[in-house]
């Protein structure tokens, strides 16, 4: 049993790793438009809006991150079993996971674009060459941090699950948080930057995403530049808090007390969410268009 102060330090370290992982995970999904915002990228070409935005329809983020992290952790466990140093084993494992992510990105983008032949969406090879390394790089940071805190959980906090299983579960969690938190910033705001703020997505605007940048044509790298200012960090914070609070309660309390502490944390979060929502509604109210009056759903 480790002493409480060291325990809290370890939990804080895990929270920090998870924050970096969450931010990198969300930004990686923004480079390639994975998950929810992808449906508008897919729709754009079909609505006669051909574009130069990467269409990375691998699958939802949770199963995808489950696979990258499970792969990375499997490779790392094999290397650890051969007595390799921990940092090297996790780094090589994460590299394997990130390269797998790159391979899936290539088939997803090229396959989907080829299947849009009748809408005359060309495949730009410079996009594949330019975006995939950025996807692999962001993916590597995310997978490395997730496997690292899973390793700490497994070997320092003595979690009963083996490393690949823990990394798999945390990968799914990271994907789910990235998909629910960060996607809003990219999908609702960046993709539809040309619409008035808060107007909602009218069906007539479906697929009419912003395709031109400050200079030239917009691509995934421009999107990640914008999302790195808010969506990515917020996702990181969400995953960081999840990992920190979850481990904090089981480090400080034990047995039934830990469960009660968990329930109290969830209750406080629900109340806080409700307060923010009510305050937001009071401050901004329903959307009114510029001519005044007409409310949209």
């Amino acid at each position: 049993m480790i002493d409480p102060i060291t325990g809290l330090g370890i939990v804080a370290l895990m929270g920090a790793l998870a924050t970096i992982a969450g931010a990198a995970e969300d930004l990686e999904s923004d480079v390639g438009s994975q998950s929810n915002p992808n449906s508008q990228v897919q729709l754009a070409a079909q609505m006669d809006f051909p574009h130069r935005i990467f269409n990375k329809a691998i699958s939802g983020e949770p199963p995808a991150y489950g696979l990258w992290c499970a792969t990375g952790a499997t490779v790392a466990s094999v290397l650890l079993a051969q007595n390799m140093s921990v940092i090297f084993a996790i780094a090589i494992g994460s590299l394997a996971g990130a390269i797998l992510l790159g391979l899936f990105s290539v088939t997803a983008h090229m396959g989907r674009t080829a299947s849009q032949k009748r809408f005359k969406q060309p495949i730009y090879m410079d996009m594949v060459i330019g975006h995939v390394p950025s996807i692999i790089a962001h993916g590597f940071i995310a997978v490395f941090c997730i496997i690292s805190f899973s390793y700490i959980m497994d070997h320092v906090l003595s979690h009963p699950f083996p490393l690949p299983l823990l990394a798999f579960l945390w990968g799914i969690t990271a994907g789910a948080i990235g998909s629910s938190t960060g996607d809003v910033h990219y999908g609702a705001e960046r993709e539809f930057q040309n619409q008035p703020f808060g107007c909602g997505l009218n069906a007539a605007y479906s697929g009419n995403i912003v395709r031109k940048a400050e200079s030239g044509l917009r691509n995934g790298i421009d999107n990640v530049w914008a999302c790195a200012k808010f969506g990515g960090p917020v996702t990181g914070l969400a995953l960081g808090f999840t990992v920190f609070f979850d481990n904090w309660r089981s480090t400080v309390f034990s047995g039934v007390n830990a469960v009660i502490a968990g329930l109290i944390i969830v209750l406080i979060l629900i109340l806080a969410n409700r307060l923010v929502e009510v305050q937001g509604r009071k401050a901004y109210g329903p959307f009114k268009d510029e001519d005044g009056g007409a409310e949209t759903a």
Binding site: I58, P63, T74, A108, S115, Y124, L217
Partner: protein, 279 residues
């Protein structure tokens, strides 16, 4: 996605042929790992991985057929369902002869798993159509196929890591306790769901989708081969990785060629198509 909604998938290999390839290839691969025990070696573990590729092709084709009815965002979910059903059935079938509750020879394990998977698939298919009213004409048949394929992929990859499909002696210590089962589960699910999801669109073609299935199954086989380093000897593990890598290279190349052939155009770089071009 509108253009792909509401109709049966068409073209290329007929469904029954793919089913035959998947069932026979998958089961044969799993059973051929028994040569390991016969010849007292682990070199035949590679057969489990090859069997899983056949099963993935079948699973991906079944996903393609059922998802052509406009499932859209449901494609990833259906892959997860496949391995969810498959993994329960696989473990049940492999463990049943070893518990001694029923007098069944252990060699029948994979077949029992396969039948149980089909039954679970049937129940899920009936629930989706009759209770959730999804009303997809081929739902029951597809769920049986997807569960069966998921179960074969799970057994094939496990056998290639452990060198045998005996549950208590091989799969439990080298796949379940080590946690590699996470890779087998999510790797199997992603290889079944990704090919159709990656090629979704009105101009999707069966060959291109199945090329992705083979290529992705091969890359998971490479990782399974790497994981098997802790269970079987290095030469056998290297063989699994090498064969997987070769299959991956061949089919990735085929996929790239078919993309270059079938896309509207493949350009190095360029501006967006002009308004006249889009007319």
């Amino acid at each position: 996605m509108s253009a792909v909604e509401g109709g049966p998938a068409s073209g290329g290999l007929p469904p029954n042929k793919v089913i035959a390839i998947g069932v026979i290839g998958g089961l044969a691969g799993i059973y051929l790992t028994m040569l390991n025990q016969t010849f007292n070696t682990t070199i035949f573990s590679v057969m489990g991985g090859i069997g899983s590729i056949f099963a993935v092709v079948w699973g991906a084709d079944a996903v393609r057929r059922v998802c052509s009815y406009g499932l859209g965002t449901g494609v990833p979910s259906i892959g997860m369902v496949a391995l969810g059903m498959g993994i329960v059935a696989a473990i049940f079938g492999l463990i049943l002869p070893e518990t001694g509750i029923l007098q069944i020879p252990a060699i029948l394990g994979p077949v029992i798993s396969f039948i149980v998977a089909a039954l679970i698939g049937l129940v899920i298919g009936l629930l989706s159509n009759k209770i959730l009213n999804m009303n997809i004409p081929i739902m029951e048949k597809s769920m049986i196929e997807i569960a069966g394929a998921g179960c074969l992929v799970m057994m094939g990859l496990s056998a290639s890591i452990a060198g045998s499909f005996a549950f208590n002696d091989a799969i439990l210590p080298s796949v379940v306790s080590t946690g590699y089962i996470a890779l087998v589960f999510i790797g199997g699910a992603m290889t079944i769901l990704h090919p159709f999801n990656a090629n979704l669109g009105p101009d999707e073609s069966q060959y291109r989708t199945l090329y992705v299935a083979v290529e992705k199954a091969a890359i998971i086989m490479v990782i399974a081969g790497f994981a098997s380093l802790t269970a079987i000897d290095a030469v056998s593990a290297a063989l699994t990785m090498l064969v997987g890598l070769l299959i991956f290279l061949v089919y990735f190349n085929k996929f790239m060629k078919s993309v270059h052939r079938e896309a509207y155009k493949v350009v190095g770089t360029g501006l967006l198509p002009s308004a006249e071009e889009l007319e």
